[in-house]
């Protein structure tokens, strides 16, 4: 298309060593990071947060409960997306941290007498802490083998907790720390925590992905060798992402079992947690922030209306995931974006200036 001849490089006045303004030859260019749609999205998001925050005053308590469960899936999905969609680490073992978060919360509540709501952040911290040694093992594997390897690790977690009688062993146990708390207060607190987690998750991830670290992460996903040679500490970055994802999953697990009140190794470390996260991300659109949100809403709708169909529902979810991967690799959001050119939560840096092509219009 463009032959080199068309752009005879102009002698830069300054050397690459001491850098100054962009060369004026083709006119100044600026960097754009927002789109008209993204400004609208920001306003819509703020409105949504306000509305959600006021829900306890006008909504029904069953809505709050639903939101809490839904937010656990959502956080899991966002974390899995961070890990797989941005970090290139396809894990099938995030239930390890989900379950761990639940158990840490339960142990702190039942055994140490801590308020379970205060235990949620501690559960996240515990999951993060444990992710560090776990990564040493998991990172030995790549690609599909990493996926199953993480699953084995989750199994080890499950077996370990199944052999600890203090938390009920294989049979699991109930969260007694919340007995005696007023039901309305409990529901309000649970809902508030869930909403806070969701907002933190969305805002935090968006800010992170727009930052330099986010850039580094995408570079690593595209080409590890090159990323390393461009000055990116690949190992540290991957570890950081793994740890953050573990913390998020830990928080989601703690939150889930605070609202569910009963835990058992099979329930806490079931692979279905990760399966749902994968479903949400893949159907919504992997490697985007909007995708999992869309996917989570879709999953919630399907679950609400079709979950009673049992096996057929599960078969349907499986088929849908397979179909999306084969037919719309980019997921629902990717497809929408391609058709409409809309960027709601842009993380890119576009160069806007004379002669530069391919800038999103919306």
């Amino acid at each position: 298309m463009s032959s080199h001849a068309a752009h005879v490089p102009v002698l830069p006045q300054d050397s690459p060593q001491d850098h100054g303004q962009a060369s004026p030859a083709t006119g100044p260019a600026r960097v754009r990071r927002a789109t008209p749609a993204s400004r609208g999205a920001a306003i819509a998001f703020a409105l949504w947060v306000l509305m959600a925050a006021s829900l306890p005053w006008w909504g029904e308590s069953s809505w709050m409960r639903e939101f809490v469960e839904f937010s656990c899936y959502f956080i899991l999905a966002m974390m899995w997306n961070l890990l797989a969609g941005y970090g290139g680490m396809v894990s099938v073992g995030q239930q390890a941290f989900f379950g761990l978060g639940g158990y840490v919360m339960l142990a702190l509540g039942n055994l140490a007498g801590l308020n379970p709501f205060l235990a949620i952040p501690l559960a996240a911290v515990a999951a993060a802490a444990l992710a560090v040694p776990v990564s040493r093992i998991a990172f030995r594997l790549q690609g599909g083998y990493f996926a199953i390897g993480t699953w084995v690790i989750a199994e080890v977690f499950r077996l370990t907790l199944a052999n600890i009688p203090a938390v009920g062993g294989g049979s699991g146990t109930s969260l007694t720390a919340l007995r005696g708390m007023d039901r309305d207060l409990r529901e309000l607190l649970t809902y508030g925590t869930a909403l806070a987690c969701v907002v933190l998750c969305i805002v935090g991830l968006h800010v992170f992905l727009r930052s330099q670290r986010g850039l580094a992460l995408q570079a690593i996903r595209d080409n590890e060798v090159a990323a390393e040679s461009q000055g990116i500490a690949v190992a540290r970055m991957k570890l950081a992402v793994y740890v953050v994802a573990a913390a998020g999953c830990g928080a989601a697990g703690a939150l889930y079992f605070v609202s569910n009140l009963r835990i058992s190794p099979d329930a806490a470390f079931g692979v279905q947690w990760t399966a749902f996260a994968i479903f949400i991300v893949v159907v919504g659109g992997i490697g985007t922030l909007e995708g999992p949100m869309l996917g989570a809403v879709l999953f919630w709708l399907l679950n609400k209306f079709l979950a009673d169909y049992g096996t057929w529902y599960q078969i349907g979810l499986g088929l849908l995931a397979v179909t999306v991967v084969i037919g719309f690799r980019q997921g629902l959001w990717g497809w929408l974006r391609q058709r409409s050119g809309i960027e709601l939560l842009p993380t890119r840096r576009w160069l806007v200036g004379e002669g530069v092509e391919d800038v999103p219009r919306r």
């Binding site: 308590s61 199944a162 062993g169 294989g170 039901r183 569910n260 099979d266 009673d308 049992g310």
Partner: protein
Amino acid sequence: AGPTVRIGYVSPQTGPLAAFAEPDRFTIEQFRKATAGGILIGGTRHTVELVVKDSQSNPNKAGSAAADLILRDKVDLVIASATPATCNPVADQCELNGTPCITNDAPWQPYFFGRKGDPKTGFEWTAHFFWGLEDVVGGFTSLWGQAGGARTVGALWPNDEDGNAWGDAKMGFPPALKAKGFKLVDRGRFQSPINDFSTFIREFKQQGVEIVTGVVPPPDFANFWNQAGQQGFQPKVVTVAKATEFPAAVAAFGDRAEGLTVELMWSPGFPYTSTMSGLSSQKLAEAYTAATGRPWIVTLGFKQALFEVAIDVLRRSAERSPQAIRQALFTTKLTTTVGPVDFRTGPVPGISKTPLVVGQWKKRGKAMDLLIVDNTLAPQIPRQAALEPVRYGA
């Protein structure tokens, strides 16, 4: 249309525990027939609506299904059955949300202590009827008393709700066996699923085990039983719960199922009649086979009884409010398909115990049938055959 009363029902229709829920469709059909004309509650005729949820054999799902029933479907009464993995989370949710709840088909200790109940006060909203560990211990040991001098028992207890309760050093088998002079060989809780039992078999052979007991998921027991065959381990009596309760699982063993013994909480031989369908146990089993083409199954009786109690509670309730229904629930006194249910007489408040006997699989024509061979604990239920030691082929 008049007011509606809603009942929520949770059971493991899919997943590894699905065998327990096999009679669901049949029983629900009968329930619908029985309540087609509505129920009189406090003098008002209420239309009855049943909302069914699948726990997918997942305690987690069971809990959220119960929460959905209470908060979204706004049911007045929740019922659930089949193993502590279903009953406990459902009951926990009901307790928390102040909804009356009836459960069955899980030994009462794992139900009660697994939920950290207080034996003095019991639970506020949840009641449960089934037998307890003391019954199964009593039944098994009495059966083994018939086995002519066999005193060494090998245990297969997995690390799950049931296995942990059965093997519990305080309330489970170990102290009882000791008291009755049996020698116990217990290698500890195993993690199910387990592919290989040779370490168990080796130990059992070395210690001269003649009786094998446990509460084992079907695939695990199949492994054990095949490997016992391969390694020439031939115990006289094999009384293993769960694995050998279901006809389909037993059919998988072919001839080698003959002589296996198992606790029996209901069978066509039970001398009780359903208050819901009016069928005797024998007739109930026949109706089931006629409707489904399958042999009768032990959980059939408990499904029937669960719905019987639910209808009874609603009928006796003064009005359609949680408090009134709870009041009626805890004052239940009803003789159901599986025997009398009365939550005030139980070992702890809110628990009612039902009779338990022991059965043995015997060949009848081509198929296997489960016949009552020991009724020491419940003499009102007639014995159908004598215990025979397990026979081994040439």
